[in-house]
Structure formats: structure tokens, C-alpha cells
Amino acid sequence: MSATDERLAHYVSTEPFAPYAAEKLTPEQERFYRASQWQIMWWKFKRHRIAVIAAAVLLVFYGSILVSEILAPYNLHTRNATHIYAPPQEVRFMHEGRFVGPFVYGYRMQLDMETLRREYTPDPKRIYPMRFFCRGDEYRFWGMFDGSFHLACPAEGGTLYLLGTDRLGRDLLSRIVYGTRISLTIGLLGIAVSFLIGIILGGISGYYGGWIDNVIQRFIEMVRAFPELPLWMALSAALPVTWSPLLVYFGITIILGLLDWPGLARAVRSKLLALREEDFATAAVLMGASPQRVIGRHLLPSFTSHLIASATLSVPGMILGETALSFLGLGLRPPVTSWGVLLNEAQNINSVALYPWIMASVAPVFVVVLAFNFMGDGLRDAADPYR
């Protein structure tokens, strides 16, 4: 073979010339770079599995607020004098090997003559099948429309106490469902108050700097030094006794918000201090924008996500705070029912020893606080999507 045969044939690609082919984005990258900030945050949040579950749980809880009256099997104030401190009834499906559908056994009640305690035992002779999508206790839906439709009701003439009853023979489950409305909204309203104060003071402090900043910072340090609960106690004791329950409710939210803002104000300030040096802020100032406009229109939006995350993380503190205050009898008062008001009845050692189901109201507190913490963690991780 000769050397000329070994040489490669002259080759020119017929493809069109594309010098940037190597830098071309894949569809995925393209999607990522074109997505808005909030979209990327959502993708990042979705990857945080526990946070998504927590968000779903919270959605369920907050959704239940809308239809508390329907979800609760009884009315908030329905008493049953013959079933005081009745233990929870277990939902069963089989009776003597036969399938009956969901039902509960009635109670057989005995008064222990020595301790004067009512003792309840399930009575297999009395079978109360649960009814679904049924008419039961009357209620006023959101205090406006009369209704009697429930998701589940006790059998005619029977009982359905899935979590037992309290000292007046009221269904605990229904009371917890109603309490959700108060306990969950109080956290949100409190946060709204604390947000307002925090953003205004933090904004002023961070935007102006100098001596204004110094004064506000010292003030924040002072507020932070106050032990919250004793101060809450004192403030809520100052609410006039003559106030209606609704006014007391708003009073408590304001009190809760009044001490919570320093953390938020600090976060706003440190972000603003960094951001006001950016070119876009300077540009806005040079174009004659007022401080309100620069802060509200240009600076705040760039860290709204951080604010939402930190707000989520401080909601549980408020829910626990309300619970603690009501537990001490200084917060909300019956007939307003919140989880804290319910726990107020579990205050003595008797209820732990004899009627442990009274403490069931702590379960939703626990779940909601955990869910807020998990969701807040997820949001915080997602808040800065370009990192």
C-alpha cells in the first residue's frame, strides 16, 4: 500500500456553521433561567418533602376553620348532663363477628360510692351506628346562617364522643374543632401586627442609619430584654373586664404582636443596610423617589421571601403564647373557645390522673406548631433560590 492511500479524504461537514453550539442551553436550563424568582422558589420548596407535607397539614387545619360547624359532630355548647367526664368512645366495625359499619357502643355508667367518681364502661348491648352527611345539632354558621348539617352525627338518641367529654358533658372533639378557628387565626393576626411594627421600624432604622438607627437599635435591645410571658400576663390583666369576648380576642392578638416584632425589625434592618448600597437603590434615589417608594417598591420586594419565612417561624410562638395565657386564665375567656381555654381545664393534676383525655387538645397544638416549624425551615431554605 502506498502512503497516499492512508491519508484521510478531505472532509467538510455539511452541517451549518454554529460557533455557539457548545454554549447552547438544554431545555431544562432554559426553563430554569427564564423562570421567575417565585417559580424557582416553588421548585426548591417542593424538593423539601417534609416541608411540603407540613404545608399540606396546615392547609387542612386552616381549611377546617371555614367549615368548623359542619365538621364538629356537636354544637360548641351542647351539654349532656348524663355524660360528665365520659371517656372516648372507640369506633368499631364488627359486632360479634358481624360487620355493621362504623358504630360506637353506648356507655354503662356507675357511680363509685367511695370516690364519687363516675365510671363508664362500654355497653355491647347498645349499638349506635354513626350517621354521615346528616342533620344534627343546630348551629349558626359563622354566626350568620342557621343550619344543622354535619359531616358525621351520633345515632338518633345515641352518643358519639370520639374524644370523650369534659366536666359539663360537652363533646371534646367538637370543642377542639371550634377552638381551631380561634387559635389559628390569633397567630396570623398577631403576626400581622408584629409585621407592621417590624417593617416600619426596621425599615426606618436600616434605610436612614446613623443616630436614628442607633436609637431604634437600643430600643429593640430593651424590648428584647423583657421576659415575654410575665409582660403578656401583666398586659392581658390590664384588658378591662367589661370588654366583650371579641374585643378581648383582638386585644390579645395585639398584645402578642407587640412583643414579637424586634426579631423581624432586625432582619429587615440588616437586609436594608446591605441593599441600600446597591445600584438600583441609588438610581431610584437619584430619580427623585421618596423614601417610602424606595423602601416599599424597590428594597422590600427583594427580600419578601425572607420575611415570609421568618414570619412562618414566629407563628408557633404566638400560638403557644395564646395557649399559655389562656391556660393561666389571663387570655381568652369562655364562651370563646381556643385550645388554650380547653387546656385550662387540664390545669390540675386530677385531670392527668383521672381524665387524661381532657388533654387531647394538646395534640393539635403540637401538630400545628411542628408543622409551622417544618414549613418555615423549608421556606427559609427556598427563600434565596439563587444561592
Binding site: F219, R224, F226, L229, P230, L231, M233, F327, L343, A353
Partner: protein
């Protein structure tokens, strides 16, 4: 350092002044006062003898004077009926309900409050520090996950409920007397070894109960800080050069992550004091919490005021200690006058 300490102490004066003012405003907020309630009651009974005493007290404490004057007298920067006699002079006022000087009433309770809060802080550190370091060095291990979960649980359980349940089990399992910070027979006795022992055996329940949430938060923070440090270049370098892992950990990253740990006392203390107030009510401890609650309810102005003042002062002093410790640890802070924090 001396300069910094001095400046920091100076800053405490306006802080305490503002706090005392806020406290005074709050305790004066409810309409009416204890004495006018009392007077109305006595008048309806036609009892003139004690009425005179109350009138005397009213004048003594200047309850008929304008608000600012009463405040100034309470603090001790304005002469009252008995000359300069206020917080600054060590006169805490008079408890109307108990009919005793506040000072006699609260002395022991404040001491016990202090002991309780101090032990909670010690407990928090003692538990959070080793666990935090362990968890950070064993990231994503089985123990990391379970301890993190436990931390979340501690964060989400309301203190007072944990107190009730623990109390119940302590009674059943160990036969501890229900409630109280010591056995009842020691209450009115002077301090002795037996009394201290009794306090110690009762102290652990409130300490655990109050400490859980703070401990959980601290573990999380220490873990995050230490993890940040462990990823830095200098750690990689040191490891590449063959430094033993334990010595490496202790020598640099741990010291760096100690900073926020110390500054956290400032945050921890107010929350511990808050927590101890409610737990003390549930466990009926002889600390300041329950008496404060009573005083607030019955509008016993000066008693409530001095308790609030005492608790806030505890928090302020805690912040001071943490700032000073931080300055000792970190030269940047004491040189720039705390602006870096």
C-alpha cells in the same frame, strides 16, 4: 476591654430607666387600684379604723398624685411622703394585699427564682453543647435525625403540659411530693443542708421542663454554626496535612462556633424566665411566677411592679454577661464597640 465594659455598663442605665417606666405604665394600666377597691369595700362596711390606715397608705404612696410624680417617687428620683425612698434606695414599696413591705415578701422567692433560672441555663449548656457537637460531626447519621426530631418535639410541646405530666410520673415512680420547690416543712426554716438537699431533689423537674425548648433551639443553632465552619477551607487544609480529627475540631471550628453560642445567653435568658414563670404556676413553685400572677390579678401594684422589674433586670444582666463574654472571646467586638454584633 475595660473601656468596653464601662461603656456597656453605662448603656444599662437608660435601659433600666426605660424598662422601669414601661413596667410602671403596665402595672398602672388596669382601671382603679387596690386601695380604692379596698376603700369602697370598707366604706360599705362602715369600718373607719382601717379606713384611716388606708388613707394614710394612700398618702404615703401618693396614689392621689399625678402619674409622672408617682413614677418618679417609685424609682426614687423624686421626694415622696417619706423623702427619697424608691427602687434606687432599695425600697421596693408596700404590698397592699399581704400588708407587708415587698422586700420581706419577695426576698426568698427571688433567690429561688435566681437559682432555678441559673440551673436551667447550666442544664441547657451542659446538654446542648455535647449533643450539638456530636450531631454536627455526625451529620445525616441515624443519631442526627433522631436527635433533631427530639429537638423539634421539645420545641412544640407546651411547657406547662410537660410539667403536669412529669409531675404526675415523678409522684408515681419516685414518690416526690406534688408541686413545690422543696418539701413543705422546710419552707419557713432558715437555710440548712437538709433544705438545700430538698431543693435539689425537687429542682430537676422544673429544670428539665423549662430547659427542653431552649436546649432544642441551642442544639440546632450550634449544629448549623459548626457545620458552616467544618466546610471551610482551613479545615480541609488541616485535615489534608494530617491533623488528628479531634484536635482539629477542638482547635479551630469549635472555638469559632462558640461565638453565637455565647451571644445566645442574651436570647435564652428572657425566654427561660418566661418559661419558668408559667411552669412555676403549674408546679406551684415558691418562685416569683405564681406570686407575680396573684399580684397582677389583685392589682397589688408595687408587688407586681417589683417582680416585673426584678425579672427584667435578670434578663438585662444576662444580656450584659453575654455581651461581656462575647467581647472577651472576640476582639472585633470590643474594638468596634459592639457595632459588629
Amino acid at each position: 476591654m475595660l473601656n468596653y465594659t464601662f461603656r456597656r455598663l453605662l448603656l444599662m442605665i437608660p435601659t433600666l430607666l426605660v424598662i422601669s417606666f414601661v413596667v410602671f405604665v403596665i402595672i398602672q394600666l388596669p382601671p382603679g387600684d387596690f386601695l380604692s377597691n379596698q376603700i369602697a369595700e370598707l366604706k360599705s362596711q362602715g369600718d373607719t379604723g382601717s379606713l384611716e390606715k388606708i388613707e394614710f397608705l394612700r398618702r404615703q404612696y401618693g396614689l392621689d398624685k399625678p402619674f409622672m410624680e408617682r413614677y418618679a417617687t417609685w424609682v426614687g428620683i423624686w421626694p415622696g411622703e417619706r423623702g427619697f425612698s424608691g427602687l434606687l434606695q432599695g425600697d421596693w414599696g408596700w404590698s397592699f394585699e399581704h400588708d407587708l413591705p415587698v422586700k420581706d415578701l419577695v426576698g426568698q422567692r427571688m433567690l429561688l427564682s435566681f437559682i432555678l433560672n441559673f440551673s436551667v441555663i447550666l442544664f441547657t449548656w451542659a446538654v446542648a453543647f455535647p449533643i450539638g457537637v456530636y450531631v454536627a460531626t455526625h451529620q445525616y447519621s441515624w443519631s442526627d435525625h433522631s436527635l433533631t426530631l427530639l429537638g423539634y418535639v421539645g420545641l412544640a410541646t407546651p411547657n406547662f403540659l410537660l410539667a403536669l405530666v412529669l409531675l404526675y410520673f415523678a409522684n408515681i415512680e419516685f414518690g416526690l411530693s406534688i408541686g413545690g420547690i422543696m418539701d413543705p416543712e422546710f419552707l419557713s426554716q432558715p437555710w440548712s443542708w437538709a433544705k438545700i438537699g430538698s431543693v435539689l431533689t425537687h429542682l430537676w423537674i422544673p429544670v428539665i421542663v423549662i430547659g427542653t425548648s431552649g436546649t432544642a433551639a441551642m442544639i440546632r443553632r450550634l449544629r448549623a454554626n459548626l457545620l458552616d465552619e467544618l466546610q471551610k477551607q482551613y479545615v480541609v487544609t488541616a485535615r489534608a496535612k494530617g491533623m488528628p480529627p479531634f484536635r482539629l475540631l477542638v482547635k479551630y471550628p469549635l472555638r469559632m462556633s462558640l461565638n453565637p453560642f455565647v451571644s445566645d445567653i442574651g436570647n435564652l435568658l428572657p425566654s427561660v424566665i418566661s418559661g419558668s414563670a408559667i411552669v412555676a404556676v403549674v408546679l406551684s413553685l415558691q418562685t416569683s411566677g405564681p406570686m407575680l400572677l396573684d399580684a397582677i390579678r389583685s392589682q397589688d401594684t408595687y408587688l407586681a411592679g417589683s417582680f416585673l422589674m426584678f425579672l427584667s433586670m435578670l434578663a438585662v444582666i444576662g444580656t450584659l454577661v453575654s455581651d461581656l463574654l462575647l467581647a472577651a472571646l472576640d476582639p472585633r467586638i470590643r474594638l468596634t464597640g459592639g457595632a459588629a454584633k
